[in-house]
């Protein structure tokens, strides 16, 4: 019997105009998004390779190490799964300058170079699932039960010895298959594009990630599907059901994520980056003044002790300069690190609160979960930045050592050699760590599906079919 209901539901849906409309729109949007994602990734990959080569060339062409102290650039490599889930990649910047004076941060985002992108955002597969397909899930379920009641078919069906639990289960399975059918062909075509795209090299880990991202997409659609089923068993008219679902959709997808951020910023305020920067600058100025004042004083104080040999005198000065340079750098670094640590801690607390609050919405759970799995989210940004910040003192130590040995008051600098320069390296996050981070999002969505579907079943068992 349940097979008959499933079959009927699929046949009823696929012969309806909404199915054709959904299929056409899904095919166009999904293929367009994946194609655009692949093209963007190829372009970014080329740009990244060119930038890395250019940076190295620039460094090698410097005439002295002093100029290297003003900074080098670490380029953030594009993530291959950004083709599916762009995440915050386009918003946060692609380059992290590393220099002695300031803490590294990502700059030169795509939005900086072309602000109009910030207005419209990316048309990635995650966006299509989050916005368009969730609406389709509602479109397929808002009249699942109440529509049958309006048509009189529910009464006719239940005038037979059909258990209600089997009826709703059959409708749910059939309806869900009907929703997935229009996605099947475009998704398969998308996978073929990912497989054949020349610049994309998806390894086993990436395919596994992709599998879990698709699992998350399907769970997200199931949340709205079961919600639609639930609301359709709680309303007496299909128009009411549609309005209620549309309202919930707006709250879940549009309102909750934004309100969560506002509430988090009120509960856990974070000082602005300008405040932090001005505090750092003030300390830098203070230390610089002390150093500037200290060097002439030291020379004056030790003038009598200077050896007659000019070279020996120069070595003595260089030794002192290195000492005060090291001391100043240590103090600045310590102060900056303390300020930065405090700032990052507060920012992290605010971020965590915003994320956790917004997880009431399945749209947020999808966003955070899929970004984590695609490595295009806040976590990856933090990891990258943290790795650059870890790298900074290593680089500073290296450049100081170079400046200390090559500073030449009388003869000027020498050609820069970067063969022994320590390189920045970031180990990619492994799949199990990503899955562990995405676990709350998976759990929340599964929880919502269970709650909504159980609600739909319980409501339908008591549903007034008259």
């Amino acid at each position: 019997m349940i097979r008959d209901i499933i079959k009927k539901e699929i046949l009823d849906n696929i012969t309806s105009p909404k199915f054709v409309f959904t299929f056409l729109l899904c095919t166009i949007l999904i293929l367009l998004s994946v194609y655009t994602g692949v093209a963007n990734y190829s372009a970014e990959k080329k740009e990244h390779t060119a930038s890395v080569a250019l940076n190295r060339k620039n460094m090698e062409s410097r005439r002295d190490y002093q100029s290297l102290a003003s900074g080098i650039k670490i380029n953030k490599p594009p993530q291959v799964l950004g083709t599916i889930v762009t995440g915050i990649e386009e918003a946060v910047g692609r380059v992290a300058p590393v220099n002695i004076a300031s803490d590294p941060n990502l700059i030169e985002s795509k939005y900086e170079s072309n602000p109009v992108f910030a207005v419209f955002g990316a048309l990635d597969l995650m966006f299509i699932v989050k916005i368009v397909l969730s609406l389709f899930a509602i479109l397929f379920t808002y009249d699942a039960i109440v529509g049958e009641k309006e048509r009189g078919t529910l009464k006719l069906a239940l005038s037979n010895s059909v258990p209600r639990d089997k009826f709703i289960l059959g409708k749910a399975i059939g309806g869900y298959i009907s929703l997935l059918l229009p996605l099947l062909i475009p998704v398969l075509l998308s996978l073929i594009i990912l497989l054949l795209a020349p610049d994309l090299s998806l390894g086993r880990a990436e395919w596994s990630r992709l599998f879990f991202i698709f699992c998350m997409f399907f769970l997200y659609l199931s949340v709205f599907f079961s919600l639609g089923l639930f609301v359709s068993t709680r309303t007496a008219r299909s128009s009411t059901s549609f309005l209620v679902l549309l309202f919930i959709w707006v709250v879940f997808v549009m309102v909750v994520p934004k309100v969560a951020v506002i509430i988090a910023s009120r509960i856990k305020p974070v000082p602005s980056i300008h405040e932090i920067t001005s505090k750092k600058d003030a300390f830098l100025r203070q230390v610089s003044a002390e150093v500037n004042k200290g060097l002439p004083e030291w020379i004056q104080k030790n003038a009598r002790n200077f050896p007659r040999d000019q070279k020996a005198a120069q070595e003595m000065i260089m030794k002192y300069v290195k000492e005060i340079q090291d001391e100043a750098t240590t103090r600045i670094d310590a102060n900056n690190a303390a300020l930065e640590k405090d700032y990052q801690l507060k920012k992290k607390e605010q971020q965590n609160l915003a994320v956790n609050l917004s997880r009431i919405s399945p749209a947020s759970a999808l966003t955070f979960g899929s970004m984590t799995l695609a490595r295009t989210g806040v976590d990856e940004y933090d990891r990258f930045l943290s790795s650059v910040r870890t790298y900074k003192p290593i680089y500073t130590k290296w450049i100081n050592s170079k400046m200390g040995t090559t500073i030449s008051v009388l003869t000027g600098g020498e050609q820069v050699r970067i063969d022994d320069m320590p390189l920045h390296h970031l180990e990619p996050e492994n799949l199990s760590s990503s899955l562990y981070k995405a676990l709350p999002d998976f759990s929340l969505m599964i929880g919502m599906i269970i709650v909504f579907f159980a609600g739909a079943c319980v409501s339908f068992l008591r549903y007034d079919v008259r």
Binding site: I5, D12, G152, K155, L156, A157, S159, P163, R466
Partner: protein, 247 residues
């Protein structure tokens, strides 16, 4: 067999929709329930279909209490509603196939469906036509075909002739007569006094949840059902004190 024993229904808002109803429809009998809107006709049918629980009394289908064993009871009944809408995207045959399967009829052939549709007077070209293109009369006929194909011993018809043109109405009565000849027990709620008189073996008039009168088809040959009905509706005649279900 369809039987109501002291059947009452009081809704949560304290409205008494059905008050101590007793009736019995034997195999090969047509029982017409007449009454104005809100008289309790549809409530009675809804209780037999277990869509509403009775406050007291029993609704029995083939001696099975519909409230206690709804799934078992429904095996013995087919239902036709006032406004059969069905699945518009399906053809007539697909609709028939789906509801036949729900009614436990599997392994039916295309010809079996065509026969059922022919029996209710659906034109052959409509068999594979989408139901959304059907007129109300055609949908109603298809609804009856669905009830026929289930081949249940009892039929519950809730104002099945409402909105049908005279020709379709007459064809429908023919079908009912055939079903009676096939031994079906038929309970039909209706406003249609004339057709009731033509086809019914027994007629009951309901008012404000109570059955106020019951006559057999033979008794009605000597009485004017229209006058009786109007008299009871106006209240110019007192309800019969005890209207018993026939044995």
């Amino acid at each position: 067999m369809i039987e109501a024993r002291n059947l009452s229904k009081r809704y949560e808002d304290n409205v008494l929709a059905l008050d101590d109803l007793n009736l019995r429809v034997n195999p090969g009998e047509i029982y017409c329930l007449l009454g104005a809107n809100g008289a309790g006709k549809t409530t009675t049918i809804n209780i037999f279909l277990a869509f509403i629980e009775p406050t007291s009394g029993q609704a029995l289908l083939n001696d099975i209490d519909a409230a206690r064993n709804p799934l078992q009871a429904k095996e013995y009944v087919a239902y036709v509603s006032e406004n059969v809408m069905l699945y518009g995207n399906f053809t007539a045959r697909q609709n028939l196939d789906f509801f036949a399967r729900l009614g436990g009829k599997r392994n039916l052939r295309k010809d079996d469906y065509y026969q059922a549709m022919q029996k209710v007077g659906l034109p052959e070209k409509a068999f594979e036509q989408r139901v959304r293109e059907f007129s109300k009369g055609m949908r109603q006929k298809l609804g009856i075909a669905i009830a026929i194909i289930k081949d249940a011993p009892a039929l519950l018809l809730d104002e099945p002739t409402s909105g049908l043109d005279p020709k379709a109405g007459a064809e429908f009565l023919e079908t009912l007569t055939e079903l009676r000849s096939a031994g079906k027990a038929i309970l039909m709620s209706t406003h249609d006094i004339f057709r009731s008189k033509d086809v019914a073996d027994r007629v009951g008039i309901m008012k404000e949840g109570r059955k106020v009168m019951e006559r057999t088809g033979d008794e009605l040959k000597h009485e004017n059902l229209q006058h009786l009905y109007l008299d009871y509706m106006r209240g110019s005649v007192n309800p019969e004190t005890e209207v018993k279900a026939n044995d």
